[in-house]
């Protein structure tokens, strides 16, 4: 269905030497037929323009006042950037279209004006959309809406922000039933789910339009010179070769996996950078102004390289990036493709990317990822049901806008695809939670947030509740962060960014740490600010951030297993890797595609157990906690464990023998229950759920400064709630979240079911070649023991007593968790 472009658009395209792409015309035709569209196209193909073109054409034909098109993107910066990019065609064709952005940064007077005189195009984020929908004048503002453009749908759908947006879109569909939608997405594995997400009634009835794939990316692997490391994830040994590649290209993005790795790689490159090539650093904890400066320098072409984390994965089209270097394991095919796509934003030329594995296992993973890219086998989790905590937040916000009837609201919410399967019972439970907490036998009749009128409609109880609800909008809950501020001789300097509170707790005055690409000396913690100065000597610490590491995807794990079990495919590997695998095969066996290899062997006075599960670090952490709990019960006296993306290793005082019983599925029964009661990960999950659902406030007017005093401790609430109402809706939401995320219980359960009866136990007399990498992780990674916190305290107390002479001031030697120590890295790679 190829349409043609009307003037002046055809002329404008021609004037720039462009021809409209077929998919842009398809989208235009669909929009003119008032159909909703999911457009799947690679980056840089004119996707965004395709989204706006129908609206531009319509407004040119029939100019009008008021809001016409709403654009929602996951990034504030993207909204701003798109506004700038759209200004050009609008200006050059003199189109009667007004464009404005609306984000958390928009000043109050402009917000006010936008409500009275809305622009034709409003560019916003999911959070700001919910806020607009919570206002009493939302029906007026959105009543005339004609189109909704949703950018980067693939990045939103399936997350809590995506749930929030889906609910907002459902509300928009009620306010403006005739508005069509256009979803813009990168290539995804679960198309049907995205189609359902985009279609206004959740049925999947939107039209799918696909742009042809661009030229396949040109990927290659680059190994560090000399010895191939057994272990470690930083890939610093690759720095000389990476710098050489940077020298040979125009602009390079060096992607790494964590913020700590970014800091270390940046330092490593600058140590070698004799010709002072302009190389910058970009990650999500740096102060916004610093990040903007780097982005501006990229756009201006004054940089040669940027070391970046996922902070540059999405969004703005940088144009002039010549190559992408991925240091460390890619973790997933989709993620790798997204990153590779940042290079060379022209569809007809291949993007160039180089993979630099940091260790032997990562060589396997890089090879598997390249095969996955070649096969276009994308990964990603299938859609999960929408979060009940997000629904609670949404219901309160909608009551803030206008009273609603539960029946109508249930019907509306069910049209959002993440909530299509929501039962009326669960809906009512969530609504009751919002109303009065939903506590059994102890109703807060006096304190309810919502009340029902005689017609059964729900009203918000007072302006104060509404104000708090609006302040609490959002689904991202961050760990408590502290600002890092430079303090010079002449007083206060600028803020460099933020680190997590736990890191600040580990610093003593005079300590050196690495942040924002600098070596800093810690002075003191002043309220919520870490004061420090430039310089500092000795062994620096690097802050790490919770949840920063993505686990290996199921799909990629499967490919790694397939590679391992097929010696015929090993030719692609460097000789050191081939030799490593051959010796493994001779001394033990190779992990199969469908079985679970478990090795046990003594070493020193300990007995090790190594399970090659390949289910990702989060699932392995959970497995480690559950497995050591069982080992305790079986009398093996476990001492600790370490989990990587590929394997889990435990060590114990006695040899574990009944391996088959150890891995039985009933692990997920009583052991899991007992663990859930005290798991810190579950507590963290509950905290997030409680904040999103509005049980605990995060933004109390004027409370920021005394944050510590006003915040109620969610752990205490968790304990009380678990004890008195274990089936409370928020505890159920917490359990649902635990299936993925930090605990990844879903994946663990699937594995235990899959390997039932297929456990291959190798009782060895010594460590196997494949087990060496994980053993080297011990002591470097944070090693959590199975023991309860009380057991840990008793041990710490004993240790101190043992080491302390009477009355002798003694400072215990402390293992610092989650910290990467540069010196140790160097030792291991050396």
């Amino acid at each position: 269905m190829l349409g043609t472009l009307p003037e002046p658009f055809a002329g404008w395209f021609a004037g720039r030497g462009w021809a409209p792409r077929p998919f842009q015309l398809d989208v235009l035709a669909a929009a003119q037929a008032r159909e909703s569209v999911l457009l799947i196209a690679p980056t840089g193909g004119g996707k965004t323009l395709a989204g706006f073109l129908p609206s531009l054409v319509a407004l040119h034909a029939a100019p009008r006042e008021g809001l016409h098109t709403l654009y929602v993107s996951p990034l504030k910066a993207l909204a701003t950037d798109i506004a700038r990019n759209l200004a050009r065609p609008v200006q050059e064709m003199a189109l009667p279209v007004s464009i404005e952005t609306r984000t958390g940064d928009t000043p109050a007077n402009r917000r006010q004006r936008q409500r009275q005189q809305p622009p034709n195009f409003l560019l916003t984020t999911p959070e700001s959309l919910t806020l607009l929908l919570s206002l009493a004048d939302a029906p007026t503002l959105f009543g005339g809406l004609t189109a909704v453009v949703i950018d980067e749908v693939h990045a939103l759908a399936g997350s809590k922000r995506g749930d929030q947006l889906a609910l907002g879109l459902a509300r928009l569909a009620s306010l403006a039933p005739r508005a069509r939608r256009i979803g813009l997405s990168a290539t995804v594995p679960h198309r049907r789910a995205l189609l359902a997400y985009i279609s206004p009634d959740g049925s999947g009835g939107a039209r799918l339009i696909e742009a042809p794939d661009g030229a396949p990316p040109a990927l290659s692997m680059m190994l560090p010179e000399g010895h191939l490391p057994w272990s470690g994830h930083m890939g610093l040994a690759g720095a000389p070769a990476i710098l050489e590649r940077i020298r040979q290209a125009g602009l390079t993005i060096v992607f790494v996996n964590t913020r700590a790795q970014a800091e270390l790689m940046f330092q490593a490159l600058w140590k070698l950078n004799d010709t002072t090539l302009p190389i910058a650093l970009h990650h999500g904890s740096l102060e916004l102004s610093l990040r903007r400066r780097v982005e501006a320098a990229m756009a201006a072409g004054s940089l040669r390289a940027v070391v970046a984390t996922s902070s540059l994965d999405l969004g703005i089209d940088w144009g002039g990036v010549d190559q992408v270097i991925q240091v460390g394991a890619p973790k997933g095919v989709s993620r790798l493709l997204q990153r590779v796509g940042r290079a060379n934003h022209r569809m007809d030329e291949p993007s160039r990317a180089i993979l630099v594995p940091a260790n032997r296992f990562e060589v396997l993973e890089c090879e598997a990822a390249m095969l996955g890219v070649a096969a276009r086998e994308l990964d990603g989790d299938p859609p999960r049901p929408g979060g009940l905590d997000v629904l609670a937040q949404h219901l309160l916000c909608m009551a803030c806008s206008a009273p609603f009837h539960p029946d109508a609201m249930y019907a509306e919410v069910s049209r959002a695809s993440p909530y299509a399967g929501l039962t009326r019972q669960d809906f009512d439970a969530v609504l009751r939670f919002v109303e009065d907490g939903g506590y059994a036998l102890a109703g807060y009749e006096r304190y309810r947030k919502l009340f029902r009128d005689s017609e059964g409609r729900m009203h918000v109880r007072g302006e104060r509740i509404a104000r708090q609800a609006r302040l609490n909008i959002g689904t991202i809950v961050e760990a408590p962060m502290l600002k890092v501020r430079l303090v010079g001789k002449r007083g206060r300097g600028g803020v460099l960014g933020e680190v997590e509170e736990y890191f600040a707790n580990l610093l003593s005055p005079g300590d050196t740490f690495m942040f924002a690409g600098r070596l800093l000396r810690f002075h003191r913690l002043h309220e919520t600010v870490i004061e420090c100065s430039e310089g500092g000597a000795g062994d620096p610490m690097v802050p790490a951030y919770a949840g920063a590491r993505l686990p290996l995807t199921t799909n990629l794990a499967d490919r790694v297993r397939a590679l391992l079990s097929a010696p015929g495919s090993w030719d692609a590997f460097p000789e050191a890797v081939q030799e490593w695998l051959r010796v493994q095969k001779a001394r033990s066996r190779l992990p199969g595609r469908a079985d679970l290899l478990v090795e046990t062997f003594p070493r020193g006075d300990r007995h090790f157990l190594v399970a090659y599960c390949f289910e990702g670090r989060n699932a392995h952490q959970t497995l480690g906690l559950l497995l050591t709990r069982r080992m305790e019960r079986f009398g093996y006296a476990p001492l600790g464990f370490v989990a990587t993306d590929y394997v889990l290793a435990t060590w114990s005082a006695h040899p574990p023998h009944d391996i088959f019983r150890l891995f039985e599925q009933d692990m997920l029964g009583d052991d899991l229950e007992a663990w859930l009661a005290e798991s810190s990960m579950l507590r963290r999950t509950f905290r997030n759920v409680a904040v999103v659902a509005g049980l605990i406030e995060r933004n109390h007017p004027g409370a920021e400064k005394t944050r510590r005093q006003v915040t109620v401790n969610s752990d205490l609430i968790y304990d009380v709630l678990r004890r008195h109402q274990p089936d409370h809706i928020l505890l159920r939401a917490t359990r649902a979240d635990a299936a993925g995320g930090l605990t990844d219980l879903g994946r663990l359960a699937a594995m235990l079911a899959r390997v039932k009866g297929r456990i291959r136990h190798m009782a060895l007399s010594r460590v196997s070649p494949l087990a060496v990498p994980v053993l080297l992780e011990i002591g470097r990674e944070s090693v959590r023991s199975a023991g309860s916190e009380d057991a840990l305290l008793a041990e710490a107390e004993e240790l101190v007593a043992e080491a302390c002479a009477e009355n002798d001031p003694y400072v215990p030697r402390v293992l610092r968790p989650n910290l990467v120590r540069q010196r140790r890295q160097a030792d291991l790679f050396g």
Binding site: D436, G437, Y439, A442, Y444, R446, Y447, R448, K449, R464, I465, Q468, Y502, N505, L506, S508, D511, G640, L695, I696, E697, R708, T711, V712, N713, L716, I717, D719, V720, L721, R723, H724, Q725, H728, S782, V783, R784, S785, E789, D790, L792, L793, A794, E795, A796, E797, V800, P809, Y810, V811, P812, R813, V814, L815, R816, P817
Partner: protein, 227 residues
């Protein structure tokens, strides 16, 4: 539950792992910062916290009274989260509390959260309470000896095997014992905070609450030292 003995101001005291201080010779039991009805105080502001905090706190207190059978029970202030807290007690909770105040003589030290005597609750409201050489006060005063206080909700973090365990704790030196908060919703303040550290200028010991017993460290050990 194994209490830890503590020699203080010439007396033999016991620290109970549930977070209470016992003075056997005086048949006295002391707890700090019950913060009863904190849940309803938050609910009134629109934060509908689970309502069982008062019940949980009173059940724990009842357990202590059964175990130690004290003649005198001292609540070291902030017993109610706010001045009107006593008026919000649910009937069941009010009668539970009445049974307790009938079984022991309750001394209600007034705190900053509850500066007026609790209404309709039996017992003796006081600004501070002295017995022998020991003074029971809500907020500790620097430079005074023989003081037992609450208010700051001390908690401590101890590094253990590469992670850190954080628990409410007693803090003690030769001059003063500071009690952890007893209330189910009472959070904690790290003992390294200047407000607490200033009361223990020459260091001291912390006793972290455990399920069965206390864990003792010196104040200095709660810091993560240089590795």
């Amino acid at each position: 539950m194994t209490p830890a003995p503590l020699h203080f101001a010439g007396e033999r005291l016991l620290l109970d792992p549930a977070g209470a201080l016992v003075w056997p010779a005086a048949q006295l039991l002391a707890v700090a910062d019950l913060h009863l009805e904190k849940g309803t105080a938050y609910a009134a502001r629109g934060e509908l916290l689970p309502p069982w905090d008062t019940r949980t706190t009173l059940e724990r207190l009842a357990g202590l009274l059964r175990r130690w059978r004290p003649r005198v029970a001292v609540a070291l202030g902030d017993s109610f989260h706010d001045d009107r807290g006593a008026g919000r007690l649910a009937p069941g909770e009010a009668s539970r509390l009445a049974a307790m105040t009938a079984s022991a003589h309750f001394i209600w030290v007034l705190g900053n959260h509850d500066p007026s005597p609790p209404e309709g609750v039996a017992g003796e409201p006081v600004l501070e309470y002295r017995l022998g050489g020991i003074t029971f006060r809500h907020i500790g005063k620097a430079g005074v000896a023989g003081e037992i206080c609450g208010h700051h909700h001390p908690k401590a973090m101890v590094p253990a095997r590469g992670c850190a365990v954080s628990r409410p704790c007693f803090v003690a030196d030769s001059q003063r014992v500071m009690l952890p908060a007893f209330g189910a919703y009472a959070g904690g303040l790290d003992v390294r905070h200047p407000a607490i550290a200033a009361l223990f200028p020459r260091g001291g010991r912390v006793f972290l609450l455990g399920r069965e017993r206390l864990f003792s460290f010196s104040l200095g050990q709660t810091r993560a030292g240089a590795a």
